[in-house]
Structure formats: structure tokens, C-alpha cells
């Protein structure tokens, strides 16, 4: 008895209204903004057409932010995937205390980014950090490493990002793993497939659809991530070396006070994402989507 509708529409209206005004409108406004020169603190703006975009094309800082952003995204996504899938396979086995372990392993994802960052800043501290202590005592390094200096900042950043977000991959993959019928594995065993072959021919194909979505979502989120990058790089002296695109957009708006320019950077990011997502979709679309 799905009745026809006006009441339904009315029920959704408040939520829709909020979304449209607070999400879609700002996005539209963002497009409009990017075509203007506007000081972030003052209400006036001047229409400049595509000037902001043209500026960006010639701006070395912009291209650097793109380069850094891509390095960061690709590395973190790849590592999150590998670690997440490996952890999911591990936690799919039954062993004593499995449920507790499953809960604990999800923690990095549930805490605020600030906490994740300061916690790792402490672990990676060049004077008192545990990590340096371990490295020096095991003889891997002669002296404590400055994890937040130019040479190592990207590595620390990637480390923290992977630590924080691999549980997301783990969750989704584990859920899917648990719904793979065990008879498929039985049939494969009888057919002579060892553990590696079972993974390649039974597990992986079944995971394809989940992985498709995970890669898409994580790509969007890591490419546009602001807080982890910002918080990790502030104050270590390496800020100017690690500016991903979101950070650059932020700086343009709140340091240079050029809201139009900041908006333009954000729009460029958006367009890149749309193109990438569409291509991805057409190339790798799975027939049996969730």
C-alpha cells in the first residue's frame, strides 16, 4: 500500500529545503564566486570572468598543490586498500577474542582528526617519541629522525592518513567477505585450488563490487581532505612544502583573502573529480552492483 503522494513530498520537504539551501546553493554560489574577484571579508565583488582560472593555470603554486595532492591521494589510497583488505582477510578467520579485536581495530577511524594528529606528533616526536626511540635502539637509524621536516613530512602525513582511514576499507570489505558462501571455497578446494588460488579466483572476484565503491569514495575523500593535512603540517616548518589542493584553496581564501580565487581552486578540484569519477565508472563498472 504505497499511497500516492503529496504527504510524502511534504514529509521530505524540510530535509530537502535544508539540503538545497545549505549544500546545493553554496555550491552554486561557489561557481558564481569563482568568476568574481572578492575580498573574503568585504561584501563587494567584481565580475572578472575566467580571470581567476587563467591565473591558476599560470600559477606555480597551483600546479605544485596539484602534484603534492596527487602524490598524497594515490599513496594513501593504495596503502589504505592493501592494509584494509589484508586486515579484513585476517579478521575473517575465527579466533579467540575476534570480536574484541574487530572493535579495537576500528578506533582510528572513530576519533577526531585532531586527536589522531597530536597522538602521532607525540609518537613521532624527535626528542621523546617512541618511534624514534625504537629506530635508534634497533640501530636502524643513527639519530632521531625529524618526521616533520621537509624530507620526511610526506611520509608522516601518509602514515597518519593511512592509520586513520584504513578501518573504513576494513569494515566494508569484512562485511562483504562474510557474505561469500563458504560452498564456493569448498568447491574450489575440491577442484584443487590452494589458498592463493582461492583468494584470486573466489575472494577477489566477489570483492570486486565493494572495492569499486571503496576506491571511488576514498579517492574523493582523500583528494579533498583538509584537516589531516593542515593539522599535520602546521608548525613543523614544512608547511609550504606540503600544500594539497584543499589547503591551497583554504590559504587563498583565508590568508590571501581572495575568496573568488579560493572558490576557483575548489571548483577546479570538483571538475577534476567529476571527470575522474565518470571515466572510472565507465571503465570499471561492475554488473552486479550493490
Amino acid at each position: 500500500m504505497q499511497t500516492r503522494g503529496l504527504p510524502g513530498l511534504l514529509l521530505v520537504l524540510p530535509a530537502l529545503l535544508l539540503l538545497v539551501t545549505l549544500t546545493l546553493y553554496p555550491v552554486g554560489y561557489g561557481f558564481w564566486l569563482s568568476l568574481h574577484a572578492k575580498h573574503s571579508l568585504f561584501p563587494q565583488q567584481t565580475f572578472v570572468g575566467l580571470d581567476n582560472y587563467l591565473y591558476l593555470v599560470n600559477d606555480p603554486e597551483f600546479w605544485e598543490s596539484l602534484r603534492i595532492g596527487l602524490i598524497y591521494s594515490v599513496s594513501t589510497i593504495a596503502l589504505q586498500l592493501v592494509l584494509g583488505v589484508a586486515a579484513a582477510l585476517l579478521l575473517n578467520e575465527s579466533f579467540f577474542g575476534r570480536n574484541i579485536v574487530r572493535g579495537l581495530v576500528l578506533f582510528p577511524y572513530m576519533i577526531p582528526t585532531v586527536v589522531a594528529v597530536i597522538l602521532w606528533k607525540w609518537m613521532l616526536n624527535n626528542q621523546f617519541g617512541l618511534i624514534n626511540f625504537g629506530l635508534v635502539s634497533l640501530g636502524i637509524s643513527n639519530e632521531p629522525i625529524n618526521w616533520f621536516g621537509r624530507s620526511y613530512i610526506m611520509i608522516s602525513l601518509i602514515l597518519v592518513s593511512v592509520w586513520q582511514f584504513f578501518p573504513f576499507v576494513l569494515l566494508a570489505v569484512l562485511a562483504r567477505l562474510q557474505s561469500i558462501p563458504t560452498e564456493l571455497y569448498d568447491a574450489a578446494r575440491v577442484d584443487g585450488a590452494g589458498p592463493v588460488n582461492r583468494f584470486l579466483f573466489v575472494t577477489l572476484p566477489q570483492l570486486a563490487s565493494v572495492l569499486f565503491i571503496i576506491i571511488l569514495l576514498r579517492s574523493i575523500w582523500m583528494f579533498t581532505k583538509f584537516d589531516t593535512v593542515w593539522l599535520m603540517t602546521q608548525g613543523g616548518g614544512a608547511e609550504r612544502y606540503i600544500r594539497t589542493m584543499p589547503v591551497y584553496a583554504y590559504l587563498r581564501t583565508f590568508n590571501y583573502y581572495e575568496a573568488g580565487m579560493g572558490a576557483a581552486v575548489a571548483i577546479v578540484m570538483f571538475l577534476m573529480l567529476v571527470v575522474a569519477a565518470t571515466t572510472y565508472f565507465f571503465l570499471f563498472r561492475q554488473e552486479d552492483q550493490l
Binding site: A187, A188, V190, D191, G192, A193, F201, P205, D288
Partner: protein, 379 residues
């Protein structure tokens, strides 16, 4: 082809014993069916033979060689699963060729084997399709094809037909029997459906609660069931069990079923039955032997007068339900007689079709057997 022997096979989960010391011999090329209600242990036993479950005790021998320590892939077996377990992302051809690929068989050999199996099962034009494009019956054949391709020593079937509708099931039964006749490979087949067991098996193994109740060919199990369980499990509709008291008087032994019904026990079985005189027993008569039919009768027939409760027409015959002492029983009737609920009828059964059951031990009391194909098993 191989001869399969199970000696003292056991399975425990923790402290709980689910399979209690099973002994079974299956000859080379024999079609053995493990049958029994859910939870009786038939699937667990099959999986132990396959190597998918580890046996807690006892041994499994193929042609006299122990295989308990071997992985499934090294036992030279093939298995057809209840849900078919086809690899969803592979074509039918790749599904069937998968095990060969694992073994490293050459392309030409793969082609030959797959072609041969596909032809035998009539699925040659399906080879390039994916499982989700196939109907249930087609998937079942592919699952069998995957097993055939391996040319194994033993075929294992785990309730392969239970997901099919009745018509398909009947059709596939015949296919499976044909394949067995053609290939003569040893088959161990698990089902809960006794009709499948009766129609397919050379040897039926009736299991209950982790034990083997009886082993024998279909007809023996039908005619000379060893226990009440087997008597009630084999044969459809189910055998009637009438509680009665076995009494002795000048004319011999008779059973009093209550409601004034009295059955004279056949004279020749006097010796076997006498020890039970004065005790409560059960009289077993199959519905197909309890007839409302004017034609039948030879001397030594027993009769009971009952009132019909429900009539279910089947076409050429009808199932008649009647009530005695609060319990419903079934008999077969001639449809031409057009019985109605409330009619009083006289049901007759031949003396040879009556069984005496000792309710305490659950055993069926048989006259001395001169039939050597029946196997008695000590539990």
C-alpha cells in the same frame, strides 16, 4: 573407480559426538545413497569422505589405502554441492575447466574433457554463458559437468536436487542414473528424500542421529526394515503404526488394536512372536497394503472395519484417512468406489504385509530370514 571403506568413523565437535563409529563398505562402481532426516549426520559423513571436514576418529580407505591425511584435491574425488557453488564470474566452460587448470592440464586436453562432459550433459551450447544467465536445472548440470570433467575415483553428491522443482527433479534423477550406468564410477549420494534414495541407489544407507540404522538394497529396506525408524522412513506414504496388545488365546496369537479391532497373527510366525505375548506392541502396515478394494483377498488376510474421515483422490486411487484411538491412519482405496467421509468400510491387508514392532527396543520382529541380502548392524 574405487572401493570406499569407512571403519569406525567418528566426528566430534568439542565434546559433542555427532557421528558415532560408522562402518560402511561401498563396492567399486556402486551407487550408495546416504539418507535420513536433517541432522542425522549424512552430510557430515560425506564431507569427511571429501576431506572438507576432519574426522575425529576411525579411518577412510579408498581401494584399501587410507586417505584421511590427504587434502580434498589429492583424493581424486569430485563433488556436486547443494547450491551448485558455481564460480559466478566465470563462464560455464571456465567453471568446468577450473580444476583442470589447477592441475596444469594442457589446453587441448582441457578442451577434450570439457567437450566430452558437456556433450554427456547436453550443455554444449551453454559453454560461453555465465551462471547467472542459467536456469536452476542448467546450473545443476554445469555443477555435474564440473565434477565429471575430473574423471574421479568417487563422485560425491550433496543433496543436488533439493533446490529444483518436482518436475525437474524427476528428470535429473534419470539423468544421474544414466550417467552412472554409462560411467560406472562409485557414487556416494546424500539426500533426505527417500524417493530419490529408492530410485537411484544400488545400496541405501539409512542414517539417524549419527548412527547407521540399516544398509541394504532398496527392496530389502522396503520389505524387511530392521527398525521402526527405517520402516517409517522408507516408503511413501509413511507406514501406519497401530499400538496394540498382543494376546494369546486358544486360536493362537492376535493383536487387539482397540475399538473392537482384532488382527490374527499368521500361524507360521507363532514361534517368533510368542515371546511378546501379553505385551504392548505396535502393528505396522503400509498404506499401500491396507486396501479398501473389493478385489483383493487371499486367505490369511486380516480385516478391520473403520469409519472414513478424509478422502484424497489421487487419480487412479485415493488416500483414505481414518481415525483409531485418536490417531489418524492412511489406507489406499479404489477410486471407483467413490467413498465419502463417514462411510464405514472394511480394510484388508495380506498377512505377509504385517509387521510386529517392539516399541521398547524399536526393532521390527522378523521371522527367521532366509534372505541373505539383508544386513543386520549392531549399534
Amino acid at each position: 573407480m574405487a572401493e570406499v571403506k569407512l571403519v569406525g568413523l567418528e566426528k566430534k565437535f568439542g565434546d559433542v559426538s555427532v557421528i558415532h563409529s560408522i562402518n560402511l563398505d561401498i563396492a567399486d562402481g556402486e551407487f550408495a545413497v546416504l539418507v535420513g532426516p536433517s541432522g542425522c549426520g549424512k552430510t557430515t559423513t560425506l564431507r569427511m569422505v571429501a576431506g572438507l571436514e576432519e574426522a575425529s576418529g576411525g579411518s577412510i580407505l579408498f581401494d584399501g589405502k587410507p586417505v584421511k591425511r590427504l587434502q580434498p584435491k589429492d583424493r581424486d574425488i569430485a563433488m556436486v554441492f547443494q547450491s551448485y557453488a558455481l564460480y559466478p564470474h566465470m563462464s560455464v566452460r571456465d567453471n568446468m575447466a577450473f580444476s583442470l587448470r589447477m592441475k596444469g592440464v594442457s589446453s587441448s586436453e582441457k578442451k577434450r574433457l570439457v567437450g566430452f562432459a558437456a556433450e554427456m550433459l547436453g550443455i554444449t551450447d551453454l559453454l560461453d554463458r555465465k551462471p547467472r544467465q542459467l536456469s536452476g536445472g542448467q546450473r545443476q548440470r554445469v555443477a555435474m559437468g564440473r565434477a565429471l570433467v575430473r574423471e574421479p575415483k568417487v563422485f560425491l553428491f550433496d543433496e543436488p536436487l533439493s533446490n529444483l522443482d518436482a518436475a525437474l527433479r524427476a528428470q535429473m534423477r534419470i539423468e544421474i542414473k544414466r550417467i552412472h550406468q554409462r560411467l560406472r564410477t562409485t557414487i556416494i549420494y546424500v539426500t533426505h528424500d527417500q524417493v530419490e534414495a529408492m530410485t537411484l541407489a544400488d545400496k541405501i544407507v539409512v542414517m539417524n542421529r549419527g548412527h547407521i540404522e540399516q544398509v541394504g538394497d532398496p527392496l530389502t529396506l522396503y520389505r524387511r526394515p530392521v527398525s521402526r525408524f527405517v520402516a517409517g522412513f522408507i516408503g511413501s506414504p509413511k507406514m501406519n503404526f497401530f499400538p496394540a496388545k498382543l494376546l494369546s488365546d486358544e486360536s493362537g496369537l492376535h493383536a487387539d488394536l482397540g475399538d473392537g479391532i482384532r488382527i490374527e497373527m499368521p500361524r507360521e510366525r507363532d514361534g517368533v512372536y510368542r515371546p511378546y505375548a501379553g505385551r504392548s506392541v505396535e502393528i505396522g502396515i503400509r498404506p499401500e497394503h491396507l486396501l479398501d478394494d473389493n478385489r483383493l483377498i487371499d486367505s490369511g488376510a486380516i480385516a478391520m472395519d473403520v469409519t472414513i474421515d478424509v478422502v484424497e483422490p489421487l487419480g487412479s486411487t485415493s488416500l483414505i484417512t481414518f481415525v483409531l484411538g485418536g490417531t489418524s491412519y492412511t489406507a489406499i482405496g479404489d477410486i471407483a468406489l467413490m467413498r465419502r467421509p463417514g462411510n464405514k468400510v472394511r480394510l484388508k491387508a495380506a498377512a505377509k504385509d504385517i509387521y510386529l514392532i517392539d516399541p521398547e527396543s524399536g526393532r521390527v520382529v522378523h521371522p527367521a530370514d532366509n534372505d541373505s541380502t539383508m544386513i543386520r548392524l549392531a549399534v
